[in-house]
């Protein structure tokens, strides 16, 4: 709830500002009374368990999801009015393997796919656009395969091209919804550092929704932690701590730091969270009690993928979670 005390950027209005913002979807509060300031040029991770409303936060900033209360400003303007200043990469977008459209066409759509009328080969600005398409494809290192059909590419190759697409308009703000998801570990590291390098070089503000803070830990300036209908923001050192997360979840959470500086969040499933059935929606903020377990073992998963697998399965089978959101622990390497 605290405002992000991140060193101010080059001045001007904040890239994103949420003031007492709330979102309700399907009659349930997703999160409410969220205050947040993201300074221009910063690299912010949005963390939190599945179903806590991280994607909703991104969509609210985009102006696709309306607020039920409070307000959002993007570069001092209402969301939706910003349009081409925002580059957006939605969650888990993979293309059907049979899709016969080239990667370069996907990137080009980011440039002028929203324009009406026929694209004339001799139209104005076409050469500049093609040069820009080539430039961003090179920037993400996808030149070698950009002319292949997107459906035939690997997840990592697709993700690079989608990042190129989101960059093509020279956005001032990049909203990336789990861009590292569904990538293998080497690709996660490579794509994460790619995003960090590009945005640093161009001074782009980045909000990146992530499952695991560690691949992006070295790049981030701040963290927004969304859970239980609330959000806490600050520097990683302030937010990813036992105290803050315990307060956020209302249950004891322990954050351990390994020798190499990686953070491991360990939650102890609290018996108190079991007594309500998974379909009990009586609590406004915590819209699915089943998630209590999800988020706790999710927290384990923030780091301990390999060690906690059995743990994870116990939860999955022992309690009938109602996963209306993606619970994809199986995909963790």
């Amino acid at each position: 709830m605290a405002e992000v005390p991140i060193p101010a950027g080059p001045g001007g209005p904040p890239a994103v500002r949420l003031v007492d913002a709330s979102v309700r979807q399907g009659g349930r509060g997703v999160w409410s009374h969220v205050d947040l300031v993201v300074e221009p040029g910063t690299f912010i991770a949005v963390l939190g368990p599945n179903g806590s409303g991280k994607s909703t936060l991104v969509k609210a900033i985009l102006g696709v999801v309306p607020l039920s209360g409070g307000r959002i400003e993007v570069f001092g303007r209402p969301p939706g009015a910003v349009g081409r200043d925002i580059g957006y990469l939605p969650q888990r977008r993979s293309f059907e393997s049979g899709l016969r459209v080239r990667g370069v066409d996907i990137v080009r759509m980011g440039a002028d796919g929203d324009r009406w009328g026929l694209p004339l080969p001799w139209g104005p600005g076409r050469r500049a656009r093609d040069a820009r398409v080539e430039e961003v494809i090179e920037l993400v290192g996808a030149t070698a395969y950009a002319s292949r059909p997107i459906g035939e590419m690997s997840g990592g190759e697709q993700q690079r091209l989608l990042i190129a697409q989101s960059l093509i308009q020279r956005p001032r703000l990049l909203l990336l919804d789990e861009p590292l998801d569904s990538l293998d570990l080497p690709n996660q590291a490579a794509v994460a550092s790619l995003i960090a390098e590009i945005s640093r070089a161009a001074g782009i503000t980045v909000l990146i929704v992530a499952h695991d803070v560690n691949p992006i830990a070295s790049a981030i300036d701040g963290v927004v932690y969304v859970a239980r209908g609330r959000a806490v923001s600050g520097t990683p050192d302030e937010v990813v701590t036992s105290e803050t997360l315990s307060a956020l979840y209302g249950t004891p959470i322990e954050v351990l730091t390994t020798n190499d500086g990686r953070r491991v969040v360990v939650g102890q499933p609290d018996a108190a969270s079991h007594h309500a059935g998974p379909h009990d929606h009586g609590h406004d903020l915590d819209h699915d009690h089943g998630h209590d377990l999800d988020l706790l073992d999710h927290l384990d998963h923030l780091d301990h993928h390999d060690h906690h697998d059995h743990h994870d399965h116990d939860h999955d089978h022992g309690h009938d979670h109602d996963h209306d959101h993606d619970l994809d622990h199986g995909q963790h390497p």
Binding site: L62, V64, G83, R84, I86, Y88, L89, P90, R93, F95, E96, L99, R100, V101, R102, D105, I106, M109, G110, D112, G113, D114, R115, W116, G117, L118, P119, V140, G141, A142, T143, A144, Y145, A146, S147, R148, P149, R160, Q165, S166, A190
Partner: protein, 319 residues
């Protein structure tokens, strides 16, 4: 198609000029070529989007629904053309009304609704035919096409409707492609995804109605799907693909008309057969090319000691 004698008075001379001249001396053949061309251009264009959007089932239903439309029109004594369009456009709106959430499960929901609409529509068609009574002769025409009885008025109507649909496609095309391939980003960029999806179904309805008048309600796919699907096998470039789909469609229509002229078998059979052959050829060709390219790429990769992504592999040759 009802049984008919061979149209040509003599067999083919196997001299293209003579054979062509002989065909075009007959006014109904000229009209058949005109109508076939109009319909093939329209079907190739709209079909290309339909195949890309994975809406072939919807397209088929819209075509099938033109049958009860036309049957009802004949029963009521209205023009069959109006019936074709009314049936398909109403069905397009019904399908478009089905809410389509963003998740993957929506697609099966959509196909269940479409299947229901289709079955009901066919049943209505059967009802209208029996209510009208004694037009069993034209029911084959409604279902399997009547290339050879196209009037001048019909040609003009077809051309006008096709021109309108193509103009709308030209305006909507780019955002439609964006919304088709990348719905969420398109929506975030302000493309009215939902409205476009409704608009496209209506365009598809018009196209299906138009094509059914020539190929019959059941063989619409010969021109709507086959050329477009074949084109997408051949190229992944949008504009080239569109052009190819149109080219394939026109070629199939012309060749089938010419062959049908000199054979006793119905045009619909020839259109479907040539369309099918084209698709099989394109898909087979693609498998061969892909295999060869993979070989080349593997060789290229072995030859180059590449860093990640930065190298220009031989696989970069345009697809």
């Amino acid at each position: 198609m009802t049984f008919r004698p061979v149209l040509a008075l003599a067999g083919p001379a196997l001299n293209p000029v003579v054979d062509l001249r002989r065909m075009l001396a007959l006014h109904f053949m000229v009209n058949a070529f005109r109508a076939g061309t109009i319909v093939a251009v329209l079907a190739g264009t709209v079909g290309w989007f339909m195949v890309l959007r994975r809406q072939s089932f919807a397209g088929h239903t819209l075509a099938v629904v033109s049958f009860p439309g036309a049957a009802a029109a004949i029963w009521l004594g209205v023009s069959a053309t109006a019936g074709y369009f009314a049936g398909s456009i109403v069905a397009a709106l019904v399908i478009a009304l089905v809410p389509r959430p963003a998740s993957g499960g929506a697609r099966s929901q959509e196909s269940a609704v479409i299947g229901t609409v289709q079955a009901f529509a066919l049943a209505c068609g059967a009802l209208f035919v029996s209510l009208y009574g004694g037009f069993l002769d034209s029911i084959t025409g409604l279902l399997f096409g009547s290339f050879l009885g196209v009037s001048d008025v019909q040609v003009v109507t077809l051309a006008a409707a096709a021109a309108v649909v193509l103009a709308v496609v030209a305006v909507l095309g780019r955002p439609l492609l964006f919304a088709t391939v990348d719905e969420q980003v398109a929506a975030a960029r302000g493309v009215p995804v939902r409205a476009l999806s409704v608009a496209f179904l209506v365009l598809l309805g018009c196209t299906a109605a138009e094509v059914s008048q020539i190929t019959g309600a059941l063989l619409v796919f010969a021109l709507l799907v086959m050329p477009a699907a074949a084109a997408q096998q051949v190229t992944a470039r949008p504009l080239v693909g569109l052009a190819l789909a149109v080219g394939f469609g026109v070629a199939v229509a012309w060749v089938s008309l010419a062959v049908a002229f000199y054979s006793p078998w119905p045009v619909g059979f020839w259109v479907s057969t040539f369309g099918f052959a084209l698709y099989v050829g394109a898909a087979g060709g693609r498998v061969v090319v892909a295999r060869r390219r993979r070989w080349l790429r593997r060789d290229g990769r072995a030859a180059l000691t590449t860093g990640r992504g930065a190298a220009v592999a031989p696989g970069a040759v345009g697809a």
